[in-house]
């Protein structure tokens, strides 16, 4: 008994939690109860319409089936039901007339008719573009068979059809009135907020990716949920995943939203709901880049921490600016504001340019020279050096003039001076022939690395690890490129949906 009590408590807590997170669900449930109550009430009271009351089941059925969470879904189901019932009624009456002409073959005609109609309607239902009307086809079948069968038995085809239709109309009417008049829940509004939320989600993921990458977050073992693309708690992952996965939800919502009459802030006929979905698709296109960025964090091969620090400022700036653009767009979608006069992308483009310049300047950090074809001969030339105090060397050299050559080796230095976070950038400007003195000191590294036994593998990883930073950077740049398209589409949406002019506050952007 104690266990039962515990279970009840758990269920109650879950129910409370759901109600708290979305109070509309409570209201919807109460509305459903109310609609059922009203329909049942009608059945009780009517006395003169006894035979109508016999078919009360149709009204109840209609309410239960038609009463959907959002107004759009209710309207679309109601329409389906009405159309299915009416056309099936018409066809059934025509068939009944026909079968009566058949005389003694009547039964055969009715049965064969049911088979043919049943097959054809089912076949039509399977056609992909008929998917939204699936429910209508079902209603059609039920109605047709019912009228044929019960009509044959009672010989009251018209009566059956009419009373049935009246009750369905009554059920649908009660559903609509209760659902629309009491605290309506609009699919369009849901869609609107879902799109806005997706922007915020992607922004969170982007920031998470950048800061994770700069702080060298590593997954000891990549969660198997991520590896198999299932829902997971990881905030970076769930951010973009929810934006990507919301596509089917959006499609469903837009299917209902187009049925809804103008309401609230969406005060136009033919409100461009499809543009919201399109915008969200463009956001998804951006989210795939964030996903690829996250892929760099998930990858086995990782760029060394010191190198990431070199680009920290720039990466951080692009990330922040990108996330700010996403947030700003999300807010503008939410508040239905047009773009301001300032260029939303200005800051992020500036930031990307900085990043590009930095990459240009520092791209020697991103490659390893050890294996260059020419590198081998280079090594042959300098063979007999020893290295014991290499990292000290580098430090002592950092202010000296060094030949251009040496820059290509900087990758190796970093490996040796692991945690000292070198930002060593040898100045250039000395005559080229001074290199004669420096080169041997700088290249013994090569020999050392070459004498390590499993040279091949480790080298491969080394170069790949540096390239991983390049990948991260250029994915980020591509992300920003895709932002442009996103802003364009937002502009389009804000035009067709007639968003309001923004209040130009000084702290905008």
């Amino acid at each position: 008994f104690l266990k039962l009590w515990k279970n009840v408590k758990i269920v109650a807590l879950m129910a409370y939690g759901m109600g708290k997170s979305d109070p509309r669900k409570i209201i919807f449930s109460a509305k459903m109860g109310l609609a059922l109550m009203l329909i049942s009430l009608l059945m009780f009271l009517k006395e003169p319409l006894e035979d109508l009351s016999n078919y009360c089941v149709w009204a109840i059925l209609t309410v239960v089936v038609v009463f959907e969470f959002s107004i759009g879904a209710t309207l679309s189901k109601g329409f389906n039901r009405a159309l299915g019932t009416l056309s099936a009624g018409g066809l059934a009456l025509a068939m009944a007339e026909l079968s009566e002409l058949a005389g003694e073959w009547e039964e055969v005609v009715v049965i064969v008719g049911i088979f043919i109609v049943g097959s054809c309607v089912t076949y039509a239902k399977l056609y992909p573009t008929m998917k939204p009307y699936e429910y209508g086809f079902r209603v059609f079948l039920i109605t047709y068979c019912f009228i044929e069968v019960s009509g044959y038995r009672t010989r009251e085809f018209i009566n059956t059809a009419v009373s049935r239709f009246l009750l369905i109309a009554l059920g649908a009417g009660v559903s609509l009135v209760v659902n629309i008049c009491i605290y309506p829940i609009w699919a369009g509004e849901d869609l609107h907020y879902l799109v806005a939320k997706n922007f915020a989600d992607v922004a969170i993921s982007l920031e998470g990716c950048i800061s994770g990458y700069l702080n060298c977050v590593e997954y000891k073992r990549v969660p198997s949920k991520i590896l198999t693309y299932q829902a997971s708690d990881d905030p970076v992952y769930s951010g973009y995943r929810s934006a990507v996965q919301s596509s089917s939800q959006e499609d469903a919502l837009v299917g209902f939203a187009v049925w809804e009459p103008p309401h609230g802030p969406y005060k136009r006929f033919k409100y461009p709901w499809k543009s919201y979905v399109k915008l969200s698709g463009a956001l998804r296109h951006c989210a795939f880049m964030v996903m690829a960025l996250h892929g760099c964090i998930l990858a086995e091969i990782q760029a060394p921490a010191e190198k990431r620090q070199v680009f920290r400022c720039e990466l951080q700036r692009v990330g922040n600016a990108g996330a700010a653009v996403l947030r700003e767009l999300g807010n503008k979608v939410k508040n239905m504001e047009k773009l301001g006069s300032e260029d939303l992308l200005y800051e992020v483009h500036e930031a990307v340019e900085q990043l590009q310049k930095k990459v240009d300047k520092k791209s020697y950090l991103l490659v390893t020279s050890e294996k260059w074809e020419i590198g081998e001969r280079f090594e042959e030339a300098v063979k007999e050096q020893t290295i014991s105090t290499f990292s000290q060397h580098v430090k002592s050299l950092s202010d000296a003039a060094i030949h251009f050559d040496s820059l290509n080796l900087s990758r190796s230095w970093d490996d040796k001076t692991d945690n000292s976070e070198i930002k060593y950038e040898p100045p250039f400007g000395v005559p080229a022939n001074s290199s004669d003195n420096q080169m041997p000191q700088l290249t013994h590294m090569l020999n050392k690395v070459d004498t390590v036994p499993e040279e091949d593998d480790s080298k491969t990883y080394e170069s790949a690890s540096a390239l991983s930073l390049v990948t991260f950077t250029s994915l980020l740049i591509e992300f920003v490129a895709r932002l442009e398209n996103l802003v364009d589409l937002f502009g389009e949406l804000s035009e067709v949906a007639k968003f309001k002019e923004p209040v130009d506050s000084p702290e905008a952007i």
Copy 2:
């Protein structure tokens, strides 16, 4: 009239096309017609059970609602319907007893009972984990209200409940017998082939990406369908998109497949359908990398064609090997074979290693040195040169000994000698001081580029364009890394699903 005839012809053609592409749809439609016919037949013939026949609508309703495309869906809906009806019947009878005790307040108790039950059931239905039982909740509501209402009117609670239940059982029975005994359509089979098809789709995309990239396919204007992630005809795009988007379809199919009894090649209770979905999730994880590769083709910033050609062999090999692994896995899933004794990943790992080595050797092609911090001073040192026959210079130099420095400029050379496909790799091995002679010749390029007016922008793009090749390469490598996880999961699936041992044919892999 002619127009009508034309329309009829179009519809007939569409119907014929659908039937040809999936004949199961025709069979299913005929089965549905048959089931409806059988149910109607019963209603005609029975004479002694007149009052049962009165409720024939329930049997028709059950057939129409329960009869689903796949066996799993039929069984799960049938179960839902049975459970909903039984529990609602029980509750309704209990409530009826209770309300009779209330005496003159009976109506109020019934009405309030309907409100409370309706609200609570609707609320429970909205709980996310209850989603698969949604239909059961609806049936519960319909049954409960119907029994309460019609029972109140006729005072035959038990009779209503029992006759209703008998007819529903009859309808469900006819549906199940017809659906299972005549050409059954299994959701599990669909899931199985869908997963296998996804492998083939991703393989096609991967090959398309590689060959598109190497042949420098460029989108004049990226199709807006791709930018907004909508379905498009582009074969490369639709390949990975269908694999990514199939996730909701898989979830639906697995929900039905678990209801299906052991059948055909899936001769075990608790067949591990979930493992198929997991494998498909891992494939999706790989497909995201293919998507990112495609992103490189879609990007505005493109690596120059000559540079791509340098890596052609290696990229092609990795692509082919990767696609071969995907195809092989897809076939193995289809044929339910275990992995062979050979290492499926051997060839692709070899290919990746080759690619890595090539990248190591040629990474100087991937960076531009012009903007290195030291580069500026470098340029100051050599200022007054002119360049008119630069590309000739390069060719004449190709066999000469050149100083190491020059390599960092190769990016610029490529730009100048555009279509000549340089594979110029200056040998190294001359004493460093010989550089004095060469440097001026090699660095006038820098000056030239610097005098171009919109230097900054073009430079930024230049370096980014070279980095784009790095990105493509390392995304490809990451793709291969993810293949490993895919093969692991396949091994897991082949164990739990007890795939058969492969026939070791010599042309395997």
